[in-house]
Symmetry: C4
Amino acid sequence: MVNAGKPLTGNEVALHNTRESCWIIVHDNVYDVTDFLDDHPGGSKIILKYAGKDATKEYDPIHPPDAITTNLKPEKHLGPVDLETVEKVEEVITNEERTRQARLAARPLLSEILNLHDFEAIARVVMPEKAWAYYSSAADDEITNRENHAAFHRVWFRPRILRDVTAIDWSTTILGHKSSMPLYITATALGKLGHPDGELNLTRAAAKHGVIQMVPTLASCSFDEIIDAAAPGQVQFFQLYVNKDREITKRIVQHAEKRGIKGLFITVDAPQLGRREKDMRQKFEAEDPSEVKQAGQGGVDRSQGAARAISSFIDPGLNWSDMQFFKSITKMPLILKGVQCWEDALEAYDTGLAGVVLSNHGGRQLDFARSGIEVLVEVVANLKEKRGLNFPNEKFQLFIDGGVRRATDIIKAVALGATAVGVGRPFLYAFSSYGQEGVEKALRILHDEFEMTMRLLGARNIKEIVPGMVDASNIHLHTVSVPSDNLYESNYERLQGARIRAIKGKL
Amino acid sequence: MVNAGKPLTGNEVALHNTRESCWIIVHDNVYDVTDFLDDHPGGSKIILKYAGKDATKEYDPIHPPDAITTNLKPEKHLGPVDLETVEKVEEVITNEERTRQARLAARPLLSEILNLHDFEAIARVVMPEKAWAYYSSAADDEITNRENHAAFHRVWFRPRILRDVTAIDWSTTILGHKSSMPLYITATALGKLGHPDGELNLTRAAAKHGVIQMVPTLASCSFDEIIDAAAPGQVQFFQLYVNKDREITKRIVQHAEKRGIKGLFITVDAPQLGRREKDMRQKFEAEDPSEVKQAGQGGVDRSQGAARAISSFIDPGLNWSDMQFFKSITKMPLILKGVQCWEDALEAYDTGLAGVVLSNHGGRQLDFARSGIEVLVEVVANLKEKRGLNFPNEKFQLFIDGGVRRATDIIKAVALGATAVGVGRPFLYAFSSYGQEGVEKALRILHDEFEMTMRLLGARNIKEIVPGMVDASNIHLHTVSVPSDNLYESNYERLQGARIRAIKGKL
Amino acid sequence: MVNAGKPLTGNEVALHNTRESCWIIVHDNVYDVTDFLDDHPGGSKIILKYAGKDATKEYDPIHPPDAITTNLKPEKHLGPVDLETVEKVEEVITNEERTRQARLAARPLLSEILNLHDFEAIARVVMPEKAWAYYSSAADDEITNRENHAAFHRVWFRPRILRDVTAIDWSTTILGHKSSMPLYITATALGKLGHPDGELNLTRAAAKHGVIQMVPTLASCSFDEIIDAAAPGQVQFFQLYVNKDREITKRIVQHAEKRGIKGLFITVDAPQLGRREKDMRQKFEAEDPSEVKQAGQGGVDRSQGAARAISSFIDPGLNWSDMQFFKSITKMPLILKGVQCWEDALEAYDTGLAGVVLSNHGGRQLDFARSGIEVLVEVVANLKEKRGLNFPNEKFQLFIDGGVRRATDIIKAVALGATAVGVGRPFLYAFSSYGQEGVEKALRILHDEFEMTMRLLGARNIKEIVPGMVDASNIHLHTVSVPSDNLYESNYERLQGARIRAIKGKL
Amino acid sequence: MVNAGKPLTGNEVALHNTRESCWIIVHDNVYDVTDFLDDHPGGSKIILKYAGKDATKEYDPIHPPDAITTNLKPEKHLGPVDLETVEKVEEVITNEERTRQARLAARPLLSEILNLHDFEAIARVVMPEKAWAYYSSAADDEITNRENHAAFHRVWFRPRILRDVTAIDWSTTILGHKSSMPLYITATALGKLGHPDGELNLTRAAAKHGVIQMVPTLASCSFDEIIDAAAPGQVQFFQLYVNKDREITKRIVQHAEKRGIKGLFITVDAPQLGRREKDMRQKFEAEDPSEVKQAGQGGVDRSQGAARAISSFIDPGLNWSDMQFFKSITKMPLILKGVQCWEDALEAYDTGLAGVVLSNHGGRQLDFARSGIEVLVEVVANLKEKRGLNFPNEKFQLFIDGGVRRATDIIKAVALGATAVGVGRPFLYAFSSYGQEGVEKALRILHDEFEMTMRLLGARNIKEIVPGMVDASNIHLHTVSVPSDNLYESNYERLQGARIRAIKGKL
């Protein structure tokens, strides 16, 4: 620390406003980031913009609170600043931002939102580009990302008729806790990118509609903020990225348990965060051209996007033997999030865990990983064959996530043996476009869809949603059409139907 | 009633022309709809337009005759009005409507209509948007709606040759009644939306061409109007939505039988009417913006579309035990409309019913329900295996509906065991664009197609259309392509063929 | 006859130039077509244009020579005219025709034509619209038409390596006659629509390149013209539509045999000619609007297109028992053209015929008939199983046609057991764009492709093209994708790759 | 020789600058190409442009060094020229070329290139058209070319979790030689078309990144140049087109061995080079219109493209018995490049070869040949069944090539039994857009992708990539959709989602 004991002044900080010496203020503390400029996953431009100034407003939505202290060596933590002496950063609103604000104001009424797709359609045009890129992007060619949704389309219904479906009850229990629907709000990072209230939008809406929120390790809001926002008795789960330092992990887990978390979902599909090229590509826009010139063609590769910026602490060494460690530090039920074949689900069962989430991380990790709904079919078949289990199963619960847009998607999973289904992006899009009200509307839409679908399916409660109600015989079919014969196609003259006379000439 | 015994005057009614007190006249009677404004599925705007006035012309095409008396509490029925004292509502023709009328005038000659697709192409541009939205819309993402048509494309012909096909007879019997083709006009609601004569267009054309019409519960014309329009000896079936009040149902059914109805088709796939979002979305256009402001973001959800507006009486409690009730009140053959798996078809057979319609309600109820033609294959196989039945079968008749556009579609179903096939929307589009003449032309086209197809197939009559004439081995294949590799696709340069020299540069 | 013994004069004929009395001259003879106007499949307009005049030039390319005498009652044949007295019809060249001529002049050099697709691309823009509509159109939704080509894409090669492929011989024998390739020019109607020399283009090119032409019943050139155009020793087959009057058929067949025809291909898939709506739709353009008004909405249906215009004599009563008749009148080998399932192929074999063409008439008859290549697979399997036959087989030869564009298509069929493959439209397009030279170029291209493909496949001669060289395991797969989820698709933002900086902003 | 012993002068040569007498200078020697003009596969125009002048600069990138001496009879080799006396050809830069140079200058920074697709996107717009046409083109309809990539999309991952994946090692050995990745740079022709340094870009980048380059017979750089450019100890393989003259082949092979080549890959899928129509079509642009007129419609066919220009020496007579010859002349391991079915892989094994490349020559030879990854599955299954082999196998190594764009593609092949995978075009595109740096960046990207993918897959080294990690059950599925029902599709109104109010009217 340069000035131990005594806060720095704004003037002192302001002197360090160049590439050669670059200090910034975050949350009333000063940091020397000169040597970090080239390593900043978000590029140097955005830092240099705040050189010698307070960067907190820019910093907050994209970084977990302790990112800067974790990434900078202690000697670069220069100590507190006297905020009174710091000049306020004038916020310049770009034209792009102004246009975005105009679009935001022009969003349709919530009553015109008919389904979860609609939130995405609105969010895509009202969110900041950076936020959209981070939320929507997925690994490599985004094949798995879209397959997650597409796979549901290979499962079809076999509805039953002439059952008295006057009363429909779509509530269930998840890990022993009541849920108004067989779904939970799954963990997603950086909520403040989409809305200033970040994850709290989810917490509050979940309370109102009786669903369970899974709190993410990489939330923009701090863990305690999110827990504090919960209603009395509101059930929350916690998603854990395991730190290389197990002591940190132990502290986090035990704190979570103390704060009342009811289930620990350990992420196992992300020993390294995936390449999300849409996100990376968006970042080039944010580069400082002069910087770029300096670095030249062979310069430092800064194209890692938001994902890599926040994940360096995750332990790629995590393995099955760590499960004993977790059992030793907590009584919370342990669930693996990111299981992708029956062999590992079996291992989880044999290890005495409480369940698994069959997930590929929303298509954000390994491209060409299969969808949760497809893996579910093989897991159910093999655990029945090898351990005699039937699903849904109280003792060992199966979850899936990824690609959900309709209650029908969830009901297909339940029919095939899932206890519940995680839904992520649709709620992000809901609060990014309408805040907490958006999430509530999304949940109301799902309630409506559950009631309707179960009534039409002839299932009066979750238990009555049985395997015989779906045909999943095509689930393993991954077809790719023979490449098109473009010469033939361009020669073929498509049939035209009858047309109105007057406009014939114009078509 | 405000004024018992004495009719109200137009002036009295006209005073109640505000949101605070809103009366309207329908069919010479006055109703106080003030409290109903927010509940009106069609939105408040359209009612307020007629506040204090005669709304009959607007009311008629979209509501069943008794909708208003059923939905309003008796104390809101204010009694008759003296029509002489009521000011005529001046009809204002909007620009949109004027343009539509111009398109209607520019429709091609009927002789230029070559197939059933053509009616749809014309109807789409000449119908009022509201009507098109109601007729064409289907549930959720309209996957099942389109699958209904697509599924026929997975069934291919195995034609036989060198049979003397000079004389072709495509007539058959349905429930013992002669039909000139193995098809019937299935029940569809709100015929007047598309044409002022509504369902009567169907009745009259059916008479001329020897086909059977299934009269819908939710017709725009009253049941008796439709029956009265029938020719002597003309066979009609009746489609029944079962009312929560079984006495009403009993009255309706026995009246139908008395009027000569030859078969009772009980709808079992609609305990609740499906969400048809195209229809709902269209409705926002009809909202009163000031109303919308008042209700605000969290206001009443008025987005239910025409479908919900007309269906609240339908009993979701209907179940197998009700079948005894129906047997007790009528001698008409009972057929379940909306069976979607072999288990329920078997149950219907064991219950002693006369048949089932394998249908998903034109894709308007549960999205991802399978097509009738696909379900037919499993029903025929299972009823043969479990009860030794062969199809087509006089004792237990199988019907399908949904997605039909060509006689080839119908012939595929007949080859696979159906007695006949229901056709709905194509006839709606036919009369919406050309009235009764359109329906007649549609039937003539089908006659032509039957003759042609059977001749080319080597089947001289309906009995000669046998399973060996089709290959349905792909019927259960629900493929979804692996999502496209957009980077690869955008890099690939499509082959171009030879081109005319002169225009080479311009292409 | 009005004027027996003495020719009519041009002046006499010219008086009958109205709808009320309409005479025309065809090939020096006068016909009263007044009563025929409404029945003319080509519409009344085109006839009225020549009322009182010589219509020969218009008549010739579209009608078989005896069409008018066959269709008009004898009393309407008014006898010969003195041509000297007839005013020449001035040919008015329309703008449309002038533009077409310009396009024709701008066609690329033949040396730039690389494959059979190219002829189609050129023909499409240089042919008269009517001709293109007739040649290119197919039945109903043209599904089978395109499936014919698509089915070849489900068969893939298993090439063999390290064989000495220096010398390649792709010649073969068809019905015992030498052919330079395992293909023949199949029968197609109305050759003069595309080129003034009509079928003679094919005859002459076939002679030069050692391939066999199948002469069609419905040629624009007369049978004898085509035979006369053949080179000494040139082999020709004959395609027969069987006339309702067997005496006529007998005369035709025996004449053909006498003229040296080496094989009789009896068409069995066309008891009635199919609906080709592209052709029919094109015809409306040719209608006389005043006529249309007169006929009104319910008027005569004139929308039959060229196909129906020429086919009324075909006997739908033709059946297996007729085969004895054919055996009794000719020694030519008898082949059925249009067999579409193994059952009928087996029957043909058991009846002692020389072979079958597995064909659906180029997709012009029954839509959803399967492709020849698909039917071939089941025929070969069943005739092996039930009669112990191996294919290719000298005693009972299998042919297919439809959808061929590359020698690879033909080689796939040969590998699967076909003796040879019929090619039709590509040659029509070749002469429609380049006359006889076009057909020769098409044959040269095919020669090149045969040499190349066989060399790369490791087959030195036709016998070495064996089943193990293809994988046809997907041939019976008729997939139709699950309908697309348009809301999801429209929300998904496609990945974009790297782009040139300068034009970034514009994309 | 015209002037034995004494060099010609520039003036002497300059006199022969017409079609009638055309001399050109290449590498200080004069050639009389008058009679060769019509036979030049690249067309006469380009030669006539250099008539009487020095054509070396144009000649070099597209011809192997000895092309002119091989193709011209010895008497047309007129001997050396005194270069001092030759007028320099002024290079005229066309507008097209100027624009291309501008695009080249505007290419994005290498740091913005995220994947191998990106190089192709840039190369497509910055390469000379002729070069793009040659590199990108493939046989016939380019079905196999695209299938090569598509087939990888039918193989999906089954990742394993909870393994300690801190350290990942993706190095391996190929034919006993260390490789930093399980890939090699496969042989591709005419490297100078894309970049002046041609194949040397690959040699140098390969050295830096520890991968093996396969040197092509048809390199633009001479063999010795490429070997000389290698770093000490750098491993190189050699791809051999076998010459009709075995002595030449022997000389080439023994020279290669002497220069240190570690493996001989004998091309067996190209007894004749395939038709690449995109390349051929591009050539028409390069024609001299006056020439074209002279040759006329029936003139010489010059449309063979670059591929045919360079391949006439290849021996189509090569066969299995030649393998003894190769064994007799070299100790290098012998690998067949272009095996396409298990039968030939088995034969190669039984013949005692060191391995096979399952390849279809990048789709440039036989269209509808299957992809390497598909053939791999049948080869592994059959060699296990028939010879008890397991793969990967040191004694008999399997390689595939074609269609690779991601490390995931390669890892799928390794999981299925391949030792390594050849990558060709992506590196061509890398150096065509960025020279050697581009190739290095491409290799760095692949390194990154290997690390990431193996970590996410749970494989710490190449041996841990096992068959159970992929699902290849759909690999043999070649689906072609049933042709679309265009009338139905055009009538269907696609669902539209929620939209921003302000821009509603404009969408």
